[in-house]
C-alpha cells in the first residue's frame, strides 16, 4: 500500500520519533486517569474512581470553569470572526499605507509573547479601573483571536475569484445580497478555520487569562492551574482531559466524514 511517494527512511524515522515524542505525555495522562495512584509516577492499579469523582458534586467547580471557558471561547470566536473577516476583506481589497499599518497591527499579536499581552492588558484594565470579570477576559481573548481569523481568511482570499461577485451584481443582486449570498459562502472555509483556531486558542489560553482575571471567574485552564498547585486530585483533571480529547477527536473524525466527499476547492 503506497502512502508516500518515494523511499525516505530517514524522514520516516524522524516522523516516528516526533509522533512518539508528541504522544508520550498524552499516553501518560490517559493512563493516569485510570491509575489508582494520585501522583501517577508509578502504577497502582486500575480504577474508574477519578471519572466517578469527576461526575460527582465535588467537581462542580470544574464543570463551572469549563462552561465559563466555553462561553468565553464562543463569544470571542464569534466576535473575532466578524472583525477578522472584515479586516481580511479590507486588507485584500486595498493596498494603501493605511492597510500597511493595519496589517502590522494584525500581525503583531501573533508574534507577541503571551505574557506581554497579559501584563499589558492587566495594567491597562487597572489603570482604567475596569472590573476584571469574564467580560474583560473575553475582550482580551478577542484581541488575540482577531489576527488568526484575519490571516485564515486572507489565505482563502488569495484564491478568491472576483468574477462571482461581478456575475452576481450583473444579475441584479444588491450589495447586501452579494455579500451574504456570494462572498461569505465562498469565504466560509477560511472563516470557519479561523473561528475554529480562535476557539481552540481561547479555550486553552492560560497566561493572558491569568494576568487579566479578577474575582471568581476562573476559566478551565486557571482552575487546572489552581488544582495542580494545591489539590491532590490531579487524576480528576486527567479524566476530564481524556474525555475532552476523546470528544474532540470524535467530532473532528465525524466532521471529516461529513465533508469528506466534497471536492476540495
Amino acid at each position: 500500500m503506497r502512502l508516500i511517494s518515494g523511499r525516505h527512511p530517514f524522514a520516516i524515522a524522524a516522523m516516528g520519533v516526533a509522533l512518539v515524542f508528541l504522544y508520550l505525555p498524552i499516553l501518560v495522562l490517559v493512563l493516569n486517569s485510570f491509575n489508582a495512584s494520585r501522583y501517577g509516577s508509578t502504577w497502582e492499579g486500575w480504577t474508574i474512581d477519578w471519572y466517578a469523582r469527576l461526575f460527582s458534586s465535588r467537581s462542580q467547580d470544574i464543570w463551572d470553569a469549563l462552561s465559563r471557558s466555553l462561553i468565553v471561547a464562543t463569544m470571542a470566536s464569534a466576535v473575532s470572526m466578524v472583525l477578522g473577516t472584515l479586516a481580511a476583506w479590507v486588507l485584500h481589497r486595498y493596498r494603501t499605507r493605511l492597510q500597511q499599518a493595519h496589517f502590522g497591527l494584525i500581525y503583531l499579536p501573533i508574534v507577541a509573547p503571551d505574557i506581554l499581552m497579559g501584563i499589558s492588558l492587566a495594567i491597562f484594565f487597572v489603570t482604567l479601573g475596569v472590573e476584571r470579570n469574564l467580560m474583560a477576559i473575553t475582550v482580551a481573548h478577542i484581541t488575540f483571536c482577531i489576527s488568526y481569523v484575519t490571516l485564515a481568511v486572507l489565505a482563502r482570499l488569495q484564491d478568491f475569484d472576483g468574477s462571482f461577485v461581478d456575475a452576481a451584481r450583473d444579475l441584479g443582486a444588491s450589495r447586501f445580497q452579494t455579500i451574504v449570498r456570494v462572498v461569505v459562502p465562498l469565504l466560509l472555509p477560511g472563516i470557519m478555520a479561523g473561528g475554529l483556531l480562535a476557539f481552540t486558542l481561547s479555550i486553552d489560553d492560560f497566561v493572558i487569562t491569568f494576568f487579566v482575571k479578577g474575582v471568581g471567574s476562573d476559566t478551565l485552564p486557571l482552575k487546572i492551574y489552581g488544582m495542580t498547585k494545591h489539590t491532590k486530585e490531579m487524576p480528576v483533571i486527567n479524566a476530564l482531559s481524556t474525555l475532552l480529547l476523546t470528544f474532540t477527536f470524535a467530532s473532528v473524525w465525524w466532521v471529516q466524514r461529513l465533508t469528506g466527499n466534497r471536492a476540495r476547492t
Partner: protein, 305 residues
Amino acid sequence: MSNPSPKYSPHRFNRSEWIRTIPSFGWLAFFFAIPTLLILVMSFKSANPYGGFGEGWSLQAWRDMGNPSYPAVTWRTVWLSVVATVICVAMALPVGFLLGKSLPKTRATLLLLIIVPFWTNFLIRVYAWKVLLHPEGYLRQALLSLHLIDERTLLLNHEWAVLLVMVYSYLPFAILPIYAAAEKFDFALLDAARDLGASAIRSFWQIFVPGVQRGLFAALVMVLIPALGSYIIPDLVGGAASEMLGNKIAARLFVDRNWPHAAAVSVLLMAVTLFPVLFAFAQQKKESRPESPRPESAKKGAAPA
C-alpha cells in the same frame, strides 16, 4: 465598487476603506497597541510599598533593573529559546518533508495525528511531563538500571527539563509552517538533482531547505518569540537555577507586587523579542508583495501565516 480586485491608490482618502478598517484597527489599537505602550509608560511610575502603582513618577523601577540576576536570566532566556528553536526546526524539516511527499490521505491522517495532542490543555501536558520525569518514575528507574545516568542525576527541576518541554510545546508551531511551504514545493526538483548525481542529503539541504525557506523563517519566528516569553514551563519543571524572564515578570507582579518593576522587566522582554519580531515583519513584507500568478496547486482551507 463590487469588483474586489486590489486598488493601488496609496494616497487617495477612501471613505469606505476607512469605515471598513476602523472596527479591527480600532479594536487592536485600543486593546493591543495602547496597552503595550502603557507598559513602557507605567514602568516610570513609583511603586506603592504595599502593592500596585503608587502616586507620582520615579526611576526606581529602572534602577532596580541593576539587580545582578537580570543579565543571567536574560542570557538564559535567550539561549534556551534559541536552542529550543533550532531543535524544533531541525525536527520539523524532515517531518515537513515527509508530509509534503505523502499522498493526500496519509498526509491528512498524519496532520491530524500531529495536531490532536494540542487539543489537550497545555498545563496538563506539562504536568504529564512532570510525571514522566519524576525522580521515582519509570523513566528514571529505567535509565538508572541501564546505568545511563547515576543516582545523583535528576531529570526534573533542571534547565534540561525546561528545554525538553519547550521543544515539546513548540514543535507543532515549527511543523505547520514548514509543511505549508513543503506542500507548494515542487518535488520534481529533487528528482532532477538526484538524476544529476547529488546525494540524498545534499539535495535535501541545497534544494529542499532553500525551497521551503519561507516556511523555515515562519517556523523560526513562531517558535522563538513565544519561547522567549515562556513562563509556565520553567515554573513547573524548572528549578531554582532555571528562571526565565517570564518567571521574573510574574514574580515581580504577583509575589513582590511591584507593578512598575514588572513593567520594566516586561520592557526588557520586549527589547529581547524586538529583533525576531522585526525579522518576522521583514519576511512578511517580502511575502505579501503582489507577485505573478502562481502555478495551480490544490489549496486547502487556510493555514495562518
